[in-house]
Protein backbone atom coordinates (compact mmCIF):
# COMPACT_ATOMS: atom_id res chain seq x y z
CA UNK A 1 0.00 0.00 0.00
CA UNK A 2 1.30 3.39 -0.89
CA UNK A 3 2.08 5.89 1.81
CA UNK A 4 0.35 9.20 2.19
CA UNK A 5 2.85 12.00 1.91
CA UNK A 6 1.54 14.53 4.37
CA UNK A 7 0.33 14.40 7.89
CA UNK A 8 0.90 17.13 10.43
CA UNK A 9 -0.21 20.57 9.47
CA UNK A 10 -1.86 19.32 6.32
CA UNK A 11 -4.56 21.92 6.80
CA UNK A 12 -1.92 24.62 6.42
CA UNK A 13 0.04 23.04 3.60
CA UNK A 14 -2.87 22.39 1.30
CA UNK A 15 -4.68 25.55 0.13
CA UNK A 16 -7.98 23.72 -0.22
CA UNK A 17 -7.78 22.32 3.29
CA UNK A 18 -6.75 25.74 4.52
CA UNK A 19 -9.89 27.15 2.93
CA UNK A 20 -11.97 24.39 4.46
CA UNK A 21 -10.55 25.23 7.87
CA UNK A 22 -11.85 28.78 7.43
CA UNK A 23 -15.42 27.67 6.79
CA UNK A 24 -17.66 28.49 9.75
CA UNK A 25 -17.90 25.58 12.17
CA UNK A 26 -21.23 26.80 13.45
CA UNK A 27 -24.28 26.46 11.25
CA UNK A 28 -27.53 27.66 12.79
CA UNK A 29 -30.38 25.18 12.36
CA UNK A 30 -33.33 26.62 10.43
CA UNK A 31 -35.49 26.52 13.55
CA UNK A 32 -35.02 26.38 17.28
CA UNK A 33 -34.66 22.71 18.18
CA UNK A 34 -34.67 23.29 21.92
CA UNK A 35 -38.46 23.00 22.54
CA UNK A 36 -38.54 19.56 20.92
CA UNK A 37 -35.44 18.49 22.83
CA UNK A 38 -36.73 19.85 26.13
CA UNK A 39 -40.00 17.96 25.65
CA UNK A 40 -38.05 14.74 25.32
CA UNK A 41 -35.80 15.32 28.32
CA UNK A 42 -38.54 14.82 30.87
CA UNK A 43 -39.28 11.37 29.44
CA UNK A 44 -35.70 10.28 29.74
CA UNK A 45 -34.58 8.27 32.69
CA UNK A 46 -31.12 9.54 33.44
CA UNK A 47 -28.53 6.91 33.89
CA UNK A 48 -26.41 6.45 36.93
CA UNK A 49 -22.89 5.46 35.98
CA UNK A 50 -22.53 1.75 36.27
CA UNK A 51 -19.12 0.16 36.42
CA UNK A 52 -17.82 -2.84 34.51
CA UNK A 53 -20.52 -2.73 31.87
CA UNK A 54 -17.97 -2.49 29.08
CA UNK A 55 -16.56 -6.01 29.53
CA UNK A 56 -20.08 -7.36 29.96
CA UNK A 57 -21.22 -5.63 26.79
CA UNK A 58 -18.24 -6.99 24.90
CA UNK A 59 -18.85 -10.50 26.19
CA UNK A 60 -22.50 -10.21 25.24
CA UNK A 61 -21.53 -9.00 21.78
CA UNK A 62 -19.24 -11.96 21.21
CA UNK A 63 -21.93 -14.34 22.41
CA UNK A 64 -24.37 -12.86 19.91
CA UNK A 65 -21.90 -13.48 17.12
CA UNK A 66 -22.13 -17.21 17.81
CA UNK A 67 -25.92 -17.28 17.70
CA UNK A 68 -26.28 -17.20 13.94
CA UNK A 69 -24.13 -20.21 13.14
CA UNK A 70 -25.82 -22.39 15.74
CA UNK A 71 -29.26 -21.45 14.50
CA UNK A 72 -28.39 -22.18 10.89
CA UNK A 73 -27.27 -25.65 11.87
CA UNK A 74 -30.43 -26.17 13.90
CA UNK A 75 -32.70 -25.11 11.06
CA UNK A 76 -30.94 -27.17 8.42
CA UNK A 77 -31.08 -30.41 10.37
CA UNK A 78 -34.80 -30.22 10.96
CA UNK A 79 -36.72 -32.64 8.76
CA UNK A 80 -39.46 -30.11 8.04
CA UNK A 81 -41.90 -27.76 9.60
CA UNK A 82 -44.81 -29.07 11.58
CA UNK A 83 -47.95 -28.17 9.73
CA UNK A 84 -50.58 -26.18 11.53
CA UNK A 85 -52.83 -29.22 11.66
CA UNK A 86 -50.34 -31.48 13.36
CA UNK A 87 -49.30 -29.06 16.08
CA UNK A 88 -51.25 -30.01 19.17
CA UNK A 89 -52.91 -27.15 20.96
CA UNK A 90 -51.39 -28.21 24.27
CA UNK A 91 -47.91 -28.39 22.81
CA UNK A 92 -48.26 -24.96 21.25
CA UNK A 93 -49.38 -23.53 24.54
CA UNK A 94 -46.33 -24.89 26.31
CA UNK A 95 -43.93 -23.30 23.84
CA UNK A 96 -41.71 -20.54 25.19
CA UNK A 97 -43.09 -17.10 24.52
CA UNK A 98 -41.58 -15.14 21.69
CA UNK A 99 -40.83 -11.50 22.49
CA UNK A 100 -38.98 -9.22 20.05
CA UNK A 101 -35.76 -7.73 21.38
CA UNK A 102 -36.32 -4.55 23.37
CA UNK A 103 -33.70 -1.85 22.89
CA UNK A 104 -33.13 0.45 25.81
CA UNK A 105 -33.34 4.24 25.91
CA UNK A 106 -29.63 4.69 25.21
CA UNK A 107 -29.71 2.62 22.07
CA UNK A 108 -30.28 5.21 19.39
CA UNK A 109 -31.84 2.97 16.80
CA UNK A 110 -33.83 5.11 14.44
CA UNK A 111 -37.43 4.63 13.46
CA UNK A 112 -36.30 3.26 10.13
CA UNK A 113 -34.47 0.42 11.91
CA UNK A 114 -37.51 -0.52 13.92
CA UNK A 115 -39.84 -0.20 10.94
CA UNK A 116 -37.68 -2.60 8.92
CA UNK A 117 -37.75 -5.03 11.81
CA UNK A 118 -41.51 -4.81 12.19
CA UNK A 119 -41.97 -5.66 8.53
CA UNK A 120 -39.79 -8.73 8.87
CA UNK A 121 -41.51 -9.70 12.10
CA UNK A 122 -44.85 -10.20 10.34
CA UNK A 123 -43.39 -13.00 8.21
CA UNK A 124 -41.29 -14.33 11.07
CA UNK A 125 -44.27 -14.77 13.39
CA UNK A 126 -46.07 -16.84 10.75
CA UNK A 127 -43.08 -19.11 10.25
CA UNK A 128 -42.31 -19.42 13.95
CA UNK A 129 -45.67 -21.05 14.62
CA UNK A 130 -44.91 -23.64 11.95
CA UNK A 131 -41.55 -24.65 13.39
CA UNK A 132 -41.08 -27.88 15.33
CA UNK A 133 -41.02 -27.28 19.09
CA UNK A 134 -37.27 -27.86 19.49
CA UNK A 135 -36.38 -25.44 16.72
CA UNK A 136 -38.76 -22.88 18.07
CA UNK A 137 -37.16 -23.24 21.48
CA UNK A 138 -33.73 -22.72 19.94
CA UNK A 139 -34.94 -19.57 18.22
CA UNK A 140 -36.41 -18.17 21.43
CA UNK A 141 -33.24 -19.00 23.37
CA UNK A 142 -31.13 -17.26 20.75
CA UNK A 143 -33.36 -14.23 20.96
CA UNK A 144 -32.86 -14.23 24.73
CA UNK A 145 -29.09 -14.11 24.16
CA UNK A 146 -29.54 -11.18 21.80
CA UNK A 147 -31.79 -9.47 24.35
CA UNK A 148 -29.15 -9.84 27.06
CA UNK A 149 -26.54 -8.38 24.75
CA UNK A 150 -28.82 -5.48 23.80
CA UNK A 151 -29.46 -4.73 27.48
CA UNK A 152 -25.77 -4.85 28.41
CA UNK A 153 -24.79 -2.67 25.48
CA UNK A 154 -27.54 -0.21 26.36
CA UNK A 155 -26.24 0.00 29.92
CA UNK A 156 -22.71 0.53 28.65
CA UNK A 157 -23.91 3.19 26.22
CA UNK A 158 -25.45 5.03 29.14
CA UNK A 159 -21.98 5.25 30.59
CA UNK A 160 -20.20 6.00 27.34
CA UNK A 161 -22.58 7.17 24.60
CA UNK A 162 -19.68 8.56 22.60
CA UNK A 163 -18.11 5.15 22.13
CA UNK A 164 -17.93 4.13 18.51
CA UNK A 165 -17.22 0.54 19.46
CA UNK A 166 -20.34 0.26 21.60
CA UNK A 167 -22.43 1.71 18.81
CA UNK A 168 -20.92 -0.82 16.42
CA UNK A 169 -21.79 -3.57 18.88
CA UNK A 170 -25.34 -2.27 19.13
CA UNK A 171 -25.77 -2.25 15.36
CA UNK A 172 -24.29 -5.72 14.96
CA UNK A 173 -26.65 -6.98 17.67
CA UNK A 174 -29.60 -5.43 15.85
CA UNK A 175 -28.41 -6.95 12.57
CA UNK A 176 -28.04 -10.31 14.28
CA UNK A 177 -31.65 -10.09 15.40
CA UNK A 178 -32.78 -9.33 11.85
CA UNK A 179 -30.67 -12.13 10.45
CA UNK A 180 -32.23 -14.56 12.88
CA UNK A 181 -35.73 -13.58 11.72
CA UNK A 182 -34.64 -13.72 8.11
CA UNK A 183 -33.13 -17.19 8.50
CA UNK A 184 -36.29 -18.54 10.05
CA UNK A 185 -38.38 -17.07 7.23
CA UNK A 186 -36.03 -18.36 4.51
CA UNK A 187 -35.64 -21.82 6.06
CA UNK A 188 -39.40 -22.01 6.62
CA UNK A 189 -40.06 -21.18 2.97
CA UNK A 190 -37.56 -23.80 1.80
CA UNK A 191 -38.98 -26.49 4.05
CA UNK A 192 -42.51 -25.68 2.97
CA UNK A 193 -41.50 -26.11 -0.66
CA UNK A 194 -39.85 -29.42 0.15
CA UNK A 195 -42.84 -30.84 2.02
Amino acid sequence: MKTIPFERGSRDKDPLLAQASRLPQDVAPPRDLWPAIAARLSDQARTTPRRFTWPMALAAGFLVASVSALLTWGLMREPGPVSGGTMLAGAAASQPMFVPVRYGPNSALGESHLKARDELLVQFRQRLDELPPETRETVVKNLAIIQRAASEIDAALAQDPASGMLNELLLSTYQEELQLYSKVVTAGDALMRRS
Binding site: M1, K2, T3, I4, P5, F6, E7, S10, R11, K13, D14, P15, L16, L17, Q19, A20, S21, R22, L23, P24, Q25, D26, V27, A28, P29, P30, R31, L33, W34, A36, I37, A38, R40, L41, Q44, A45, R46, T47, T48, P49, P105, N106, A108, L109, G110, E111, S112, H113, K115, A116, A158, Q159, P161, A162, S163, G164, N167, E168, L170, L171
Partner: protein, 182 residues
Protein backbone atom coordinates in the same frame (compact mmCIF):
# COMPACT_ATOMS: atom_id res chain seq x y z
CA UNK B 1 -19.40 31.40 24.02
CA UNK B 2 -18.80 31.50 27.74
CA UNK B 3 -15.40 30.92 29.24
CA UNK B 4 -14.19 27.42 29.93
CA UNK B 5 -14.87 27.90 33.64
CA UNK B 6 -18.50 28.78 32.99
CA UNK B 7 -18.89 25.72 30.82
CA UNK B 8 -17.46 23.45 33.50
CA UNK B 9 -19.96 24.91 35.96
CA UNK B 10 -22.83 24.49 33.50
CA UNK B 11 -21.86 20.91 32.84
CA UNK B 12 -21.76 20.22 36.57
CA UNK B 13 -25.21 21.78 37.04
CA UNK B 14 -26.63 19.92 34.06
CA UNK B 15 -25.19 16.68 35.39
CA UNK B 16 -27.15 17.18 38.56
CA UNK B 17 -30.37 17.69 36.60
CA UNK B 18 -30.51 21.44 35.95
CA UNK B 19 -32.36 21.71 32.64
CA UNK B 20 -31.72 25.44 32.29
CA UNK B 21 -27.97 24.80 32.54
CA UNK B 22 -28.33 22.15 29.87
CA UNK B 23 -30.22 24.60 27.69
CA UNK B 24 -27.24 26.92 28.02
CA UNK B 25 -24.97 24.14 26.82
CA UNK B 26 -27.36 23.48 23.97
CA UNK B 27 -27.32 27.15 22.94
CA UNK B 28 -23.52 27.18 23.02
CA UNK B 29 -23.01 24.01 21.04
CA UNK B 30 -26.01 23.52 18.76
CA UNK B 31 -24.43 25.36 15.84
CA UNK B 32 -21.42 23.09 15.74
CA UNK B 33 -23.39 19.92 16.30
CA UNK B 34 -25.91 20.84 13.61
CA UNK B 35 -23.12 21.94 11.26
CA UNK B 36 -21.33 18.64 11.78
CA UNK B 37 -24.50 16.62 11.18
CA UNK B 38 -25.48 18.69 8.16
CA UNK B 39 -22.11 18.37 6.50
CA UNK B 40 -21.84 14.66 7.22
CA UNK B 41 -25.35 13.84 6.00
CA UNK B 42 -26.03 16.56 3.43
CA UNK B 43 -29.68 16.67 4.51
CA UNK B 44 -31.12 19.49 6.60
CA UNK B 45 -34.04 17.50 8.03
CA UNK B 46 -31.84 14.52 8.89
CA UNK B 47 -29.34 16.87 10.48
CA UNK B 48 -32.10 18.39 12.62
CA UNK B 49 -33.23 14.94 13.77
CA UNK B 50 -29.69 13.85 14.54
CA UNK B 51 -28.98 17.06 16.43
CA UNK B 52 -31.98 16.36 18.63
CA UNK B 53 -30.88 12.75 19.15
CA UNK B 54 -27.40 13.97 20.09
CA UNK B 55 -28.60 16.38 22.79
CA UNK B 56 -31.18 13.98 24.21
CA UNK B 57 -28.55 11.28 24.39
CA UNK B 58 -26.08 13.70 25.98
CA UNK B 59 -28.62 14.71 28.63
CA UNK B 60 -29.36 11.11 29.51
CA UNK B 61 -25.70 10.24 29.76
CA UNK B 62 -24.32 13.37 31.39
CA UNK B 63 -24.12 11.76 34.86
CA UNK B 64 -21.51 9.42 33.39
CA UNK B 65 -19.48 12.19 31.76
CA UNK B 66 -16.32 12.53 33.80
CA UNK B 67 -14.67 15.35 31.93
CA UNK B 68 -11.81 13.28 30.58
CA UNK B 69 -12.32 14.90 27.19
CA UNK B 70 -13.63 18.35 26.39
CA UNK B 71 -17.40 18.59 26.54
CA UNK B 72 -17.54 19.63 22.87
CA UNK B 73 -15.45 16.61 21.83
CA UNK B 74 -17.69 14.30 23.86
CA UNK B 75 -20.76 15.86 22.27
CA UNK B 76 -19.31 15.60 18.76
CA UNK B 77 -18.52 11.93 19.28
CA UNK B 78 -22.16 11.35 20.17
CA UNK B 79 -23.20 13.26 17.05
CA UNK B 80 -20.83 11.28 14.81
CA UNK B 81 -22.17 8.03 16.26
CA UNK B 82 -25.72 9.21 15.58
CA UNK B 83 -24.82 10.03 11.97
CA UNK B 84 -23.07 6.70 11.40
CA UNK B 85 -25.95 4.80 12.98
CA UNK B 86 -28.47 6.62 10.83
CA UNK B 87 -26.44 6.05 7.70
CA UNK B 88 -26.19 2.31 8.26
CA UNK B 89 -29.86 1.99 9.07
CA UNK B 90 -32.54 0.83 6.63
CA UNK B 91 -33.60 4.41 6.01
CA UNK B 92 -30.06 5.67 5.61
CA UNK B 93 -28.59 6.77 2.35
CA UNK B 94 -26.79 3.48 1.97
CA UNK B 95 -23.60 5.29 1.24
CA UNK B 96 -20.31 3.61 0.66
CA UNK B 97 -18.60 2.62 3.87
CA UNK B 98 -15.63 4.36 5.35
CA UNK B 99 -13.31 1.70 4.06
CA UNK B 100 -14.22 2.15 0.41
CA UNK B 101 -11.42 2.68 -2.06
CA UNK B 102 -8.28 3.84 -0.32
CA UNK B 103 -6.79 7.07 -1.47
CA UNK B 104 -4.23 6.97 -4.22
CA UNK B 105 -0.80 8.45 -3.97
CA UNK B 106 -0.81 11.85 -5.56
CA UNK B 107 1.70 14.61 -5.80
CA UNK B 108 0.21 17.75 -4.34
CA UNK B 109 2.64 20.02 -6.14
CA UNK B 110 1.68 18.54 -9.49
CA UNK B 111 -1.98 19.32 -9.02
CA UNK B 112 -3.11 22.57 -10.58
CA UNK B 113 -4.25 25.28 -8.25
CA UNK B 114 -7.90 26.13 -8.06
CA UNK B 115 -8.73 29.76 -8.41
CA UNK B 116 -11.58 31.78 -6.93
CA UNK B 117 -13.15 29.12 -4.77
CA UNK B 118 -15.99 30.64 -2.85
CA UNK B 119 -17.15 29.13 0.46
CA UNK B 120 -20.40 28.14 -1.26
CA UNK B 121 -18.52 26.33 -4.03
CA UNK B 122 -16.39 24.58 -1.46
CA UNK B 123 -19.38 23.53 0.67
CA UNK B 124 -21.13 22.20 -2.42
CA UNK B 125 -18.06 20.26 -3.50
CA UNK B 126 -17.65 18.80 0.01
CA UNK B 127 -21.30 17.77 0.04
CA UNK B 128 -20.75 15.88 -3.20
CA UNK B 129 -17.90 13.75 -1.85
CA UNK B 130 -18.40 10.06 -1.08
CA UNK B 131 -19.27 9.48 2.56
CA UNK B 132 -15.88 8.19 3.73
CA UNK B 133 -13.91 11.01 2.18
CA UNK B 134 -16.46 13.60 3.28
CA UNK B 135 -16.44 12.44 6.91
CA UNK B 136 -12.69 12.89 7.20
CA UNK B 137 -12.68 16.20 5.39
CA UNK B 138 -15.40 17.53 7.67
CA UNK B 139 -13.85 16.31 10.92
CA UNK B 140 -10.24 17.06 10.09
CA UNK B 141 -10.50 19.87 7.57
CA UNK B 142 -13.36 21.92 9.01
CA UNK B 143 -13.56 20.92 12.67
CA UNK B 144 -9.83 20.54 13.20
CA UNK B 145 -9.71 17.08 14.71
CA UNK B 146 -6.40 15.27 14.34
CA UNK B 147 -6.24 12.10 12.27
CA UNK B 148 -6.09 10.10 15.49
CA UNK B 149 -9.16 11.83 16.93
CA UNK B 150 -11.14 11.56 13.68
CA UNK B 151 -10.19 7.91 13.26
CA UNK B 152 -11.30 7.22 16.83
CA UNK B 153 -14.64 8.93 16.25
CA UNK B 154 -15.27 7.05 13.02
CA UNK B 155 -13.98 3.70 14.23
CA UNK B 156 -11.40 3.37 11.49
CA UNK B 157 -7.62 3.05 11.33
CA UNK B 158 -5.52 6.20 11.27
CA UNK B 159 -4.03 5.06 7.97
CA UNK B 160 -7.48 4.79 6.44
CA UNK B 161 -8.26 8.24 7.74
CA UNK B 162 -5.19 9.68 6.00
CA UNK B 163 -5.94 7.82 2.80
CA UNK B 164 -9.49 9.09 2.79
CA UNK B 165 -8.35 12.65 3.34
CA UNK B 166 -5.97 12.33 0.43
CA UNK B 167 -8.77 11.03 -1.72
CA UNK B 168 -11.08 13.80 -0.54
CA UNK B 169 -8.58 16.45 -1.55
CA UNK B 170 -8.14 14.94 -4.98
CA UNK B 171 -11.89 14.62 -5.56
CA UNK B 172 -12.46 18.16 -4.33
CA UNK B 173 -9.94 19.47 -6.84
CA UNK B 174 -11.52 17.52 -9.66
CA UNK B 175 -14.99 18.79 -8.80
CA UNK B 176 -13.88 22.38 -8.41
CA UNK B 177 -11.91 22.28 -11.65
CA UNK B 178 -14.97 20.96 -13.43
CA UNK B 179 -16.99 23.84 -12.02
CA UNK B 180 -14.31 26.29 -13.05
CA UNK B 181 -14.42 24.95 -16.58
CA UNK B 182 -18.15 25.34 -16.94
Amino acid sequence: MDSAGDEVERVARARSGDVSAFEGLYRDHVGRVYGLCLRMTGHAQTAEDLTQVTFVSAWRSLPGYEGRSRFSTWLHRIAVNAVLGQRRGPGGRDEISLTDEAGEQMDIAAEPEIERVTPIDLERAIAGLPAGARDILVLHGIYGYSHEEAAGMLGIAVGTCKAQLHRARHLLRVRLQMEEGT
